[in-house]
């Protein structure tokens, strides 16, 4: 049995390792176009800032792949023939499979801005190793940069550029920072911190037109408010989409939507083909589509898809949402539904005096449904447990200390949180 994975990201490699764990004899191959070895995309920023060497980004020792008998094939898949069970690479090589996993991840969204077609250099993204190489090539000749897009990748690129002494104008379309995940108050804490770190953050502004200089390199950006920002580098961090372009014409019969359409056992519409990670699109029970595009989900899906390919029949059910991030120095943890909590939910929010730290707990019908935590460390497992047990907000506040995960001697003092909660309770009563 020959298992082939297209994509050597976390989904593809996790699947390969899981298959090897269960099947000592199968032949396993992983095709990757971006790099010879699996690397951690989440650490791109640390390579950019010289806190790590590119090699340090690889989560497993190189010889592990030989030890696990995982064949690595460097190249870009360009076609898939499900009748002959063959993957064709763009250099003409053909690879036969018995079972195939599509785990090609995502690519950056294309920007719709006027003038981009006249720009030959200086516009970068921050998703792949090749993007990193572009950034590194351009940064030494960059004094001012504009970064567009207020998500997690944008803020990482901004941090890297600031580290290299570049003046950054950071354009965020929304009226506060990252409204899909943060409420106004947390958005303000993060915005203040980003500005404090030397970034010119502009809310409610987006790119309207891009201008190139005589040499073809980007020279300025005009926003929807008519403001002109001179720059030698423009970072476009306006989200990612599944990397399925090659499948549109190269894989006849494969059902595609925003991503590769799969059933809840990761099966795509062609026989013996599965998909997992950033590129897989599920259908929700209510008919809507579901794309999970974070590290944790890619790893989880890679493992579950491997089980499915091995013949297990359990259906994939995404667990309660959680995520973590870091905005310069501020750490962030979230569990459950916060900004998308049902109408009628009640919220407790407290900012710890004198610190860039806050706690938000959202309760609906007497049960906590989500938390947003900034500026100190928490073990999300406790919140998952409380949400699953439908605990009240009062219970969670009383037990917060259990979930603390700060360093020794450095625990966040909870007195102000509990006092604020009690006075909020009194006001409500």
């Amino acid at each position: 049995m020959h298992y082939v994975m297209i994509g050597n990201g976390v989904a593809g490699i996790t699947a390969a390792l899981k298959i090897r764990e269960r099947d000592r004899h199968a032949r396993i191959s992983v095709i990757g176009g971006e790099s010879d070895y699996f690397f951690s995309r989440t650490a791109l920023m640390y390579a950019f800032m010289d806190r790590m060497n590119p090699r340090d980004l690889e989560p497993y020792e190189r010889k592990s792949y030989d030890a696990q008998r995982i064949e690595r094939i460097r190249g870009w898949a360009a076609g898939l023939d499900a009748n002959r069970k063959i993957v064709r690479l763009d250099d003409g090589r053909e690879i036969a499979y018995d079972r195939l996993l599509l785990a090609g991840g995502s690519v950056p969204n294309r920007a719709p801005w006027a003038g981009l077609d006249t720009v030959r250099d200086g516009v970068v993204q921050f998703v792949s190793l090749q993007n990193l190489a572009d950034c590194e090539r351009l940064t030494p000749s960059t004094r001012q940069a504009v970064v567009a897009g207020g998500g997690l990748i944008g803020v990482e690129l901004v941090e890297c550029l600031v580290h290299h002494g570049v003046e950054v104008d950071f354009l965020v379309r929304d009226s506060w920072y990252w409204p899909v995940a943060l409420n106004r108050e947390e958005g303000a804490i993060v915005s203040d911190h980003i500005r404090h770190c030397g970034v010119r953050l502009h809310l409610e502004q987006e790119v309207d037109r891009v201008t190139a200089g005589a040499d073809g390199r980007v020279s300025s950006v005009r926003t929807n408010k008519g403001v002109e920002f001179p720059c030698q580098l423009l970072g476009t961090c306006i989200g990612v989409r599944p990397a399925i372009d090659w499948l549109k014409s190269g894989a006849p019969g494969l059902a595609l939507g925003r991503g590769i359409k799969v059933a809840d056992d990761f099966r795509a519409s062609l026989p013996d083909v599965w998909a997992a990670g950033d590129c897989a699109e599920f259908t929700r029970p209510d008919g809507g589509s579901l794309l999970e595009q974070i590290w944790y989900s890619a790893k989880r899906q890679g493992e579950s898809a491997a089980r499915a390919m091995l013949g297990d029949t359990a259906a994939y059910r995404p667990p309660l949402f959680y995520n973590s991030a870091k905005f310069f120095e501020i750490e962030y943890t979230t569990v459950g539904e916060v900004t998308r909590a049902p109408a009628g939910a009640t919220t407790f929010f407290h900012r710890v005096p004198g610190k860039d730290a806050s706690i938000r707990i959202v309760e609906n019908e007497g049960a906590v449904v989500g938390v947003n935590l900034l500026g100190s460390r928490w073990n999300h497992k406790w919140f998952e447990k409380w949400i699953a047990e439908r605990r009240s907000m009062a219970h969670v506040v009383a037990n917060l200390h259990l979930a603390q995960f700060d360093v020794e001697f450095g625990r966040l003092a909870l007195e102000s949180v509990r006092a604020a909660f009690q006075s909020a309770e009194r006001r409500a009563a």
Binding site: K18, A43, P59, Y60, Q68, W295, Y296, S324, F405, V407
Partner: protein
């Protein structure tokens, strides 16, 4: 990518085994060779009114720990574990490892270092030496090595000594900060480390046993005395001078800061065995690791922390000195140093890749 500017290039070069790092390693190594094998340093020592080259060395060492410590405190000022720990390191070095011994000498007392214990300091269980001291020193030596060291090790892990008290660890965590990431993280070096560090521990135990035998039965058995003396001077040259000094500190800019602690220190080996059965561990938050590798990169003991974190496995490694830097640099707050009463296994993890870590299981 290196920050532009010649100052940054030089900094990168010296921190990443560039030419300047080799040069600095040569200077440091040369310094230790001169210190151990010549009397040249006695001259500058006398010039500034110090009685011997060793006092001068103690002074320089204390200055390096203090200056490096101030830098470390500033760098990690948001992390109270690091701030408190580094303050203690500076305090212990300047008071227990420098001022008190000098004062004792001045008062015509034995020059005793209360922050050192057997088997790091072999003298303190060498009968011919220790029994020549007044009773309180004898008691401190024996109770310290036999009771205090293992007891605190069981309660708090070896960190209480290796990264709070010990001078070798103190220098590594202060002056050595720029080179902590150079430790080798491969499985192969882990295998080597386990052999070498336990071999030195074995040698130190053997030597101590021989010292007691020759002290007790030497009169009737001059051959034993002779062998023991030979072994003692070999151990002193190889372990205390070459490995702890020349290799241990001289190679900071090439091999990282804890080469001595990791590969050779008998005290670390002993405390490591205690640590394995004690309360200390690094707790891993379940399914929160993004495999970025910062923790492994900045582990001075060469532990591949990421391999545990991404497998959702809270762990205790014998070599871990509990410096806490993995928890500090982790951008997702995945790791936490803690002392737990029972080492309860974590809840079954959602994602656990066992296959790839098969050889880790050999330990």
């Amino acid at each position: 990518m290196i920050k532009s500017g010649s100052a940054h290039s030089l900094l990168h070069d010296v921190k990443n085994r560039g030419i300047s790092a080799w040069l600095l390693a040569a200077i440091l190594t040369g310094f230790y060779l001169v210190l151990y094998f010549t009397e040249w340093l006695a001259v500058p020592a006398r010039m500034i009114g110090l009685e011997s080259k060793w006092t001068l060395y103690g002074l320089l060492y204390t200055l390096a720990v203090t200056a490096g410590g101030v830098h470390v405190i500033r760098k990690y000022r948001h992390n109270r574990y690091q701030v408190i720990r580094t303050c203690v390191v500076i305090f212990v070095q300047s008071v227990f490892a420098f001022s008190i011994p000098q004062m004792l000498k001045f008062l015509h007392q034995p020059e005793y270092y209360f922050s050192y214990f057997w088997p790091l300091k072999m003298d303190y269980l060498t009968p011919s030496y220790i029994f020549s001291l007044p009773l309180p020193y004898i008691l401190y030596s024996f109770l310290g090595s036999a009771l205090l060291v293992p007891l605190l090790g069981a309660l708090f892990g070896k960190r209480w000594y290796c990264s709070w008290i010990c001078g070798c660890g103190g220098l590594a965590n202060t002056f050595g900060e720029p080179w902590r990431h150079l430790s080798d993280k491969s499985n192969a070096s882990w295998r080597i480390e386990r052999v070498t560090v336990h071999a030195v521990l074995g040698a130190s135990l053997l030597l101590t046993a021989m010292l007691f035998i020759s002290w007790g039965a030497g009169k009737t058995n001059p051959a034993i005395v002779q062998w023991t003396a030979g072994f003692q001077s070999f151990y002193g040259l190889m372990v205390s001078s070459m490995l702890a000094g020349v290799v241990g500190v001289g190679l900071y800019p090439l091999g990282g800061t804890r080469v001595w602690c990791r590969f050779f220190c008998p005290m670390a080996a002993l405390l490591g065995l205690v640590q394995k059965v004690g309360r200390y561990r690094i707790a891993v938050k379940e399914n929160m690791c993004i495999s970025c590798g910062m923790c492994s990169k900045y582990c001075e003991m060469g532990i591949d922390v990421r391999s545990y974190a991404q497998a959702n496995e809270s762990f205790t490694r014998a070599s871990c000195v509990g410096c806490g830097l993995c928890a500090e640099v982790c951008p997702r707050g995945v790791l936490r140093l803690e002392n737990v009463r029972t080492q309860a296994p974590q809840q079954a993890a959602l994602v656990q890749i066992e296959g790839i870590r098969a050889d880790r299981r050999l330990v």
